[in-house]
Structures are given as structure tokens and as C-alpha cells.
């Protein structure tokens, strides 16, 4: 699984209220949620995400609530992979479960806004084509690997239960 795109960068502790504010939680419609993604952060979003498939973040990305709307909103806005120094645990699970790649990379600060970045899950590497730097990332293991391989938790459960 490979994703390559120009990246947009956000900071540490981006919480789920910043990703999708509580007032929009009445909707489960991905297209609607995408209109308001990262709205809580500043005025630049969601506009800055057009033609961007990789979002870079600092520590503790997705902290706060368990709302899966956060992962759904990012995915619907065209984000296929979030690279962060670390993830809050519920967001990490939600991302993997809904087919949004979540990649932990301590050196994420070496990726700058606008860089051309490629993530390769099979080979466990992140390439910054703008600087030529290559970083290795741990490969998904066990159940997480199986869920990613299935394309999400729904398909994983279907396969496991033979439905």
C-alpha cells in the first residue's frame, strides 16, 4: 500500500474537537463532515486539504473524544494517511478501522508543509522526495496488520466470521 502526495502539517495535541467540532456530530454523512474537517484548528481548513492525501502532525494527534467522525471526516476530505509523532489511542484504532492509514514517525518534523512525501506500508518506509530523506517505520503487526490488509474492521470481521 503506497500513498504519495504533497503534505500539509499541523502541530501537537490536535484534538477531536479541532478535527470535527461537536456541533456537527448529528451527522454521520462523510461528505458533510469533510466540509468541516479541521475547522476547529484555524481558518485555513478545509480549503488547504485540496489535492492532499497525507496530513503530518506532532504528538498526540486525535486526543479527546472517541468520535469516529474525526477519522471519517479526514478520509472523506481526501486524506488517506496521517503521519504523526504519536497518536491518541482511540483515534489510532478508529483510523485503522475505517481505512485511514495512521503512521507513527518520530522524525515527522523533517517533513515540511508542501513537501512531496511517499508512504510505503509494505516496505515500512517514508520518503521525502523533496529532500531525498528516507525514514523507516515499524510495520503493522498482528491484528492491526490483518485489519489494514482487509481494508478496515468491517471487512476484517466479515472475513473472520465467513460472511
Amino acid at each position: 500500500m503506497r500513498v504519495r502526495s504533497r503534505v500539509v502539517c499541523v502541530g501537537d495535541d490536535v484534538d477531536t474537537d479541532a478535527i470535527i467540532p461537536g456541533k456537527y456530530l448529528g451527522s454521520q454523512e462523510p461528505a458533510f463532515l469533510a466540509l468541516h474537517v479541521l475547522e476547529g484548528l484555524s481558518g485555513r481548513f478545509p480549503g488547504d486539504l485540496s489535492n492532499v492525501a497525507i496530513l503530518c502532525a506532532g504528538e498526540n494527534f486525535g486526543c479527546g473524544s472517541s468520535r469516529e467522525h474525526a477519522a471519517l471526516a479526514l478520509r472523506a476530505a481526501g486524506i488517506r494517511c496521517v503521519i504523526a509523532a504519536s497518536f491518541a489511542r482511540i483515534f489510532f484504532r478508529n483510523a485503522i478501522n475505517t481505512g485511514l492509514l495512521a503512521v507513527e514517525l518520530k522524525e515527522v518534523s523533517r517533513l515540511s508543509e508542501g513537501d512531496d512525501v511517499e508512504v510505503d506500508i509494505e516496505y515500512g518506509k517514508v520518503v521525502n522526495h523533496s529532500t531525498g530523506e528516507v525514514f523507516s517505520i515499524p510495520q503493522y503487526a498482528g491484528t492491526v496488520r490483518d485489519i489494514v490488509a482487509a481494508g478496515g474492521l468491517v471487512e476484517y470481521v466479515r472475513r473472520r466470521t465467513g460472511r
Binding site: D13, G26, Q28, R93, N94, N97, T143, R163
Partner: protein, 417 residues
């Protein structure tokens, strides 16, 4: 080698002794979801093609967030969950206005010490006060548990927080957890288990213990837990002997160990816009308040309302301040009526409303406008959390919130008593 209580519970559910960092599959005893995360869980469950939930008596549906239904969408979400309950034969449905899940479920004694609870809500960790393993997940994870009865979990590293000293008069469980957040930050217990122990915890009642565990997630923890003791046993109406295994072994090992002396600690307040941005109430200076909210899964229990009423008794709230109390459940509401707490609130000029999560997540019932200053007993003060992105939220105990309503500025209870 000895085990912590969390490791014991996870080992039992995994069917083997677990080690920190390993991923294990565990059986789940109880699940909960609500009207925001539940509708997605139902949709994803149906997409899984699983038919019936693995055990309908282990599923709770609590309609507590956008309820009493704040708009048509909310009414539809609730109806979707009621219909699902009817199709599945799920009887544990708490309808609109009956209470906040993390107050209701422990109060109902449905959850049992030593068990495992997964909830589609981050504050599911609250129930760890009952000496059980409780953690939050998202909607699809919950749907998979409904289908399989199991889930995967990475065994968390163990952090012990040992509290000693003398609790000052107005200090509460809320102040203790805010102080911990001040020490370790919002990432300080990242993926870890927070175990609360020590003579101070032994003397805390269950209401205070729930508050303590409730905000462990604000430090990034996977679960918060208080080992079983006489207080736990009394809460469940069993003998302490029955729960004697539900403690950590003396020789259990912890990756982190924190000692906290509570003697002389002033009330703590988290200032905008992070629960880890905590100061002594006495350091804050003159901060004028527009709104006060007392309630939520953090501080909507009887003990919380009693503390607020004690400060408010015989007083009026300041002109221009809007103060709202939402009891955490019907039971808390009835008891607050019986004990005269509701009278005290109404006489003071405080509005009392139905149990709801509404204000805490900026959903409804007292949403904050631009620039408004809110003192809230809830758990998060992220930018935009309680309404407008430019509203400023201060998190505090019920006593501090009540005192602030009286003076119209953020105040220590000692200022008004």
C-alpha cells in the same frame, strides 16, 4: 512475578498471563454506546453481516448526548437506537433524559468488579473506579465487539499514582486528577494504565473515585483503576472478602510511580485550552465569568451536587452569570430533590435541567458564545469544545464552580464560605 490489578483482569480475559506491550485478544463482559457513537456502530454492525449481537444482555444503549432530542437529527438518531434494541432484544436502553452513561451504569450496579467494559465513548474509563478494566473505543470497534464478543488490546504499561497527606477542606477528586494532569500533561500516561492508590484514595468515596478515573483519559491513559477495598465492597453490597483478589500484588512492577502529597493543596483549575494547563485557583487573578456548568460524567453525581449546594446555600449567584446544574441521572436528581439541594440551587438563581451531556461537548443546553468565559465541572476545555471557538473554558471542581457563580469571577470556595 506479581501482577497489577489491570494485568490480572487482562490475563484472566486473555486466558494467559499478559506482558506489557503484547497484543492480546480478550473477552468483553459489557459494552456501552450512546446516541452520537451508537448510530454509526449500528450501521457498521449491519455491514458486518453479523445478524445478532453476541450477547444482548451485555449491551447498554444510553441516549444521553444530544438529548432530550435537541433537533430532528437527534430524534432520528435516538429512534435508530431504539429500533436496533427492539430488533436485537436489548433491554438495557436508557432513554432520553434518564442520565449520563458513566453515572448511570455504575449506579445501576450492572457493571461488576473484575470485569471488562468497552464503551464507544472516551470517558468509559470512569468505571475503573469499580475495580474493573474499562476503556473507550470508536463506533466500528464497538460494532466488532457486538459481533465477536472479543477485541484486541495492547497490554498497557503500568503507572501508579499514590496519594498521601491530609485532604484540605474543599479539595475533591477533581482537584486531584487536575493536579496529576498538571504534573504529567495530556500525554503523560500515553497508552498506559493509571492506578490510583494510597491512604487518600482509601478515604475517598465512590463519587470522587469516579471523577478521578474519568479524567485519566485526559492524560492519554488506556484505563484508570482503583483497586477494590471496603468502599468498593460497600458500593456493591458485598463483603470485602469477596473482592480481596481484585487488588495489585505487593510485588507488581510499575513502569512509572508517582507520589502525590495532597496536604495544603489549593483547588486546581485547568485554564484554556488544555486539561493539562492547570494552575492553583489562587494564582488566577481576576477572571470574570459568564457561565457556570455543574454536571457531566465527571461531576454530575450526588456528592458533586452536595459540594456545590454547600457553597451556594443561602446565597445568590452574581448578576449576569448564567449557572446551570444538570444532575447526572434520574436517581441523582431524585436524591438531590429529597435532600433539598435542588431548592438550594433554585433559591440561589441557578437553573436546574435534565440529565444530559449537552453543554460539555458544545451540543446544546447552554452553548458558549464568542468570548464568553465558562467555569465547567466537565473534562475538556479544548478550543471550541463548549461552543464558539473563542469561548474560554476553565475546568474546576463543583465547589469552585459554585463559588465562581456567587462572586462572578473564578473563586475558591473559601472566599464565599
Amino acid at each position: 512475578m506479581g501482577q497489577t490489578l489491570t494485568q490480572k483482569i487482562l490475563s484472566q480475559k486473555a486466558g494467559k498471563p499478559v506482558k506489557t506491550g503484547e497484543v492480546v485478544e480478550i473477552g468483553v463482559d459489557f459494552t456501552l454506546t450512546h446516541d452520537v457513537t451508537g448510530p454509526i456502530a449500528v450501521s457498521e454492525f449491519n455491514r458486518m453481516g453479523a445478524g445478532l449481537v453476541w450477547d444482548r444482555d451485555r449491551v447498554a444503549l444510553v441516549l444521553d448526548h444530544a438529548t432530550p432530542s435537541k433537533d430532528i437529527q437527534a430524534a432520528e438518531a435516538c429512534r435508530k437506537l431504539r429500533r436496533f434494541a427492539a430488533e436485537q432484544g436489548i433491554s438495557r436502553v436508557y432513554d432520553e433524559g434518564q442520565g449520563v452513561e458513566h453515572v448511570l451504569l455504575p449506579e445501576s450496579r450492572w457493571l461488576r468488579p473484575g470485569s471488562v467494559l468497552f464503551g464507544a465513548d472516551s470517558h468509559t474509563v470512569t468505571a475503573g473506579a469499580c475495580a474493573l478494566f474499562a476503556t473507550g473505543v470508536g463506533s466500528t470497534d464497538l460494532a466488532a465487539i457486538w459481533a465477536l464478543g472479543t477485541t484486541w488490546i495492547r497490554v498497557p504499561a503500568q503507572m501508579r499514582l499514590n496519594f498521601t497527606g491530609e485532604m484540605p477542606r474543599w479539595l475533591s477528586g477533581k482537584d486531584l486528577i487536575l493536579y496529576v494532569l498538571r504534573l504529567i500533561g495530556t500525554n503523560g500516561a500515553h497508552y498506559q494504565s493509571m492506578e490510583f492508590t494510597g491512604p487518600v484514595i482509601s478515604r475517598l468515596d465512590m463519587d470522587q473515585r469516579f471523577t478521578l478515573c474519568n479524567m485519566s483519559v485526559e492524560a492519554g491513559a488506556k484505563n484508570g483503576i482503583v483497586p477494590a477495598d471496603e468502599v468498593t465492597a460497600a458500593f456493591f453490597g458485598v463483603s470485602p472478602e469477596e473482592l480481596k483478589e481484585l487488588v495489585s500484588d505487593e510485588d507488581a512492577t510499575y513502569e512509572q510511580w508517582l507520589e502525590v502529597d495532597v496536604s495544603g493543596m489549593p483547588p486546581q483549575v485547568a485554564v484554556p485550552s488544555s486539561p493539562g494547563n492547570v494552575k492553583d485557583v489562587t494564582e488566577l487573578g481576576d477572571i470574570q465569568v459568564d457561565r457556570v456548568f455543574i454536571g457531566s460524567c465527571t461531576n454530575g453525581r450526588l456528592g458533586d451536587l452536595e459540594a456545590a449546594a454547600e457553597v451556594l446555600r443561602g446565597k445568590r449567584i452574581a448578576r449576569g452569570v448564567v449557572a446551570l446544574v444538570l444532575p447526572g441521572s434520574t436517581e441523582v436528581f431524585r436524591e438531590a430533590l429529597k435532600r433539598g439541594l435542588v431548592d438550594t440551587f433554585l433559591e440561589a438563581g441557578v437553573t436546574v435541567g435534565p440529565p444530559s451531556c449537552g453543554p460539555c461537548y458544545g451540543g446544546h443546553l447552554g452553548v458558549a458564545g464568542p468570548g464568553e468565559v465558562v467555569v465547567s465541572t466537565s473534562n475538556r476545555n479544548f478550543r471550541g469544545r463548549m461552543g464558539h471557538a473563542d469561548a474560554l473554558v476553565y475546568l474546576a471542581s463543583p465547589a469552585v464552580a459554585a463559588a465562581s457563580a456567587v462572586t462572578g469571577r473564578i473563586s475558591s470556595p473559601e472566599e464565599v464560605i
